[in-house]
């Protein structure tokens, strides 16, 4: 197994080096924008994967936390002059706290009805921000005052800095997932995902574990909300609590492979690359992107329910068997 480990570390090192060097080589802002989207949605997918992938609590309401993060930092910035860097953490805390009552309600239901209840919570939050103008600008939303180059206020000229922030967030999300995967919590999560009643029967405190992982997931999703608002310099209830954020968070994980470290990343690369290709091909006409996403999703569910990661694992194991069960033989071949 030593050989495999070294190969893994080596390819990870190459990947990190390429990602770090990328903005130095690629100067086209359209391409950088695509990479920022990939990093951002991979990060949201990683956050979703903690609760949706490992614990199999299939949330379709992560836009709630995305929006809370976006609104918290923006309100702090515009009304109180607080830097979005601080606002980002505050947004994460607000979302984590909000996940307590949301989870308290929604975890009473299982499976599809959990998903529906989470949709409802995100929709209620959107309606609240639409309806109560005193709270935050109502339906019109607001633009973020452009201060030019102001790193302390999370504003930069050019897109390179945003790229590195998104890359840092994704790294954070993956590191947290890696740690959780290898801790007792990771095993409890998988046990809950496999069969919640059985997990409880052997002494796993399922409500507590679900509550804790939901908080972590909400916290991370909110960071993405702050970042996105700062990146596009605009916020309104429809972008902040958009259902498509909830959809994409779940979709990238399912297509890539739920409950795996790299699944959401691979899923995002596939979906966002397809979407970018389609846009340059057909223009950004309404419906094309989600039509293709839904076809990919359907194909994955019907033929590869374990996602692309499951497919890779299958092929890999078949090759190991074909080479007499030795990993080294496969690598040498």
């Amino acid at each position: 197994m030593g050989g495999l480990r070294n190969w893994g570390m080596l390819s990870l090192g190459v990947l990190v080096a390429v990602l770090l060097a990328l903005p130095l080589v690629v100067k086209n802002s359209f391409v950088i924008d695509i990479f920022i989207r990939i990093l951002l949605f991979a990060f949201i997918g990683v956050a979703w994967n903690l609760i949706g992938g490992y614990a199999k609590q299939l949330s379709l309401g992560h836009a709630a936390f995305f929006g809370l993060g976006a609104y918290t930092s923006t309100i702090l910035q515009i009304d109180f002059g607080v830097s979005p860097w601080i606002g980002m953490v505050c947004g994460g805390v607000v979302a984590a706290l909000a996940s307590l009552p949301i989870g308290w309600l929604c975890f009473r239901l299982r499976g599809p009805y959990f998903a529906i209840a989470t949709i409802a919570t995100a929709q209620v939050l959107m309606l609240i921000f639409l309806k109560f103008r005193d709270l935050a600008w109502g339906a019109e939303g607001t633009t973020i005052p452009n201060l030019g180059h102001a790193p302390l206020m999370m504003q930069f000229e050019g897109k390179t800095a945003y790229y590195y922030i998104a890359l840092a967030m994704l790294t954070l999300g993956l590191a947290i997932t890696y740690r959780i995967e290898r801790s007792w919590m990771g095993y409890y999560l998988v046990a809950i995902g496999e069969d919640e009643d059985a997990a409880e029967a052997v002494g796993v405190n399922a409500p507590r574990i679900k509550r804790d992982i939901y908080m972590i997931s909400a916290f991370l999703t909110a960071l993405a909300g702050t970042f996105y608002t700062q990146y596009i310099y605009f916020i309104d209830p429809n972008t902040a609590f958009n259902f498509s954020v909830s959809i994409e968070a779940a979709l990238v994980s399912i297509v890539g492979g739920v409950g795996t470290l790299w699944g959401p990343v691979i899923g995002t690369v596939l979906l966002e690359a397809t979407s970018a290709l389609l846009q340059s091909w057909l223009g950004s006409s309404g419906g094309v992107q989600l039509t293709v996403y839904s076809l990919i999703l359907m194909a994955v569910i019907l033929w590869r329910p374990t996602g692309i990661m499951g497919f890779i694992t299958d092929v890999y194991q078949r090759r190991i068997r074909a080479h007499g069960g030795s990993v080294q033989a496969v690598l040498d071949a």
């Binding site: 499976g111 529906i116 209620v124 309404g286």
Partner: protein, 289 residues
């Protein structure tokens, strides 16, 4: 004041009849096949567009177009069950949820591509007519929709109670293994159940058309209502879904009347979350699972 209240209740009941057709479909599918159909609203949308095209191309009245929209969606239901849903039965939650969810996304976005996001309306001779009874205002188109919706719900109830196929359906819902031993082919029963559920969604679409615009996203309003009604009325319970839908229509209408025009949905979602907090198993007290 009392008159305003009565008017709001009537408005709510009338639209609640349409919600009932959608909810009964969702609850029937859940009861028999044990899956939640996220695409139910999109089939309402298809029903609306069928009705719209029959009206604009051939001048066929929306009520008459029921005889096209219902069989057409019945066939769609049989195909969806046989070619898609059958393949994920017995698997875990994830494929079951996301298959119909993907179907919903697919139909919605195909409609967006092919039919554009424009609102389509149908104007019949009774679209602007209304009955005035003791100071109350009852639009004829909504009354027709309500009466036919109730008639269809009643017909379904009789079908489930009195016919062999209906009894087979209820048997397959309660004990699929035993039903199979008794010679019931579950896939055939499931096909019929999904067909009926989609036919009801198509009927809802046709009946809506004289007073409601068709657009690709229209189904989402109705499916959310239906999900809430189905939870309220206890999953899989047809009569529960019917009563809950009428209640939701009234709640929404009261919200619009007394809180503000765009607060109807807030009231409905608040009802859902409140139900979850107080009685997660639904008003009829069945299982929440």
């Amino acid at each position: 004041m009392l008159e305003i209240l009565a008017q709001a209740v009537i408005n709510g009941l009338l639209i609640g009849g349409i919600y009932a057709l959608v909810s009964i479909g969702v609850t029937l599918i859940f009861g028999v096949i044990k899956i939640v159909n996220f695409a139910q609203g999109e089939f309402v949308m298809i029903g609306m567009y069928i009705t719209f095209f029959l009206f604009t191309q051939f001048g066929i009245d929306p009520v008459v177009s029921l005889i096209v929209s219902m069989p057409a969606l019945f066939v769609v239901g049989v195909l969806v069950q046989h070619f898609l849903i059958r393949r994920v039965l017995g698997l875990n939650d994830l494929p079951q949820i996301f298959l119909t969810f993907a179907l919903s996304l697919l139909i919605l976005n195909l409609a967006l591509m092919l039919l554009t996001a424009n609102y389509r309306t149908v104007h019949t001779w009774y679209s602007d007519e209304a009955l005035h009874i003791g100071g109350l205002y009852i639009p004829v188109a909504k009354l027709i929709a309500f009466v036919l919706a109730m008639a269809l719900s009643g017909a379904l109830w009789v079908f489930l109670r009195a016919t062999d196929l209906g009894k087979a359906m209820r048997a397959a819902a309660q004990k699929p293994e035993v039903a199979m031993l008794m010679g019931i082919n579950p896939n055939r029963v499931f096909c019929v159940a999904l067909g009926i559920a989609l036919a009801l969604a198509g009927a809802a679409g046709s009946l809506l058309m004289p007073f409601y615009p068709a657009y690709p996203m229209v189904g989402q309003v109705f499916v959310l209502m239906a999900f809430v009604a189905v939870v309220l009325g206890t999953l899989g319970n047809v009569v529960g879904a019917l009563i809950a839908s009428l209640m939701m229509g009234v709640a929404e209408s009261l919200g619009i009347q007394f809180v503000g025009a765009d607060s109807g949905l807030i009231v409905v979602f608040a009802m859902l979350l409140l139900t979850l907090a107080i009685r997660p198993s639904g008003l009829a007290g069945g299982r929440a699972r």
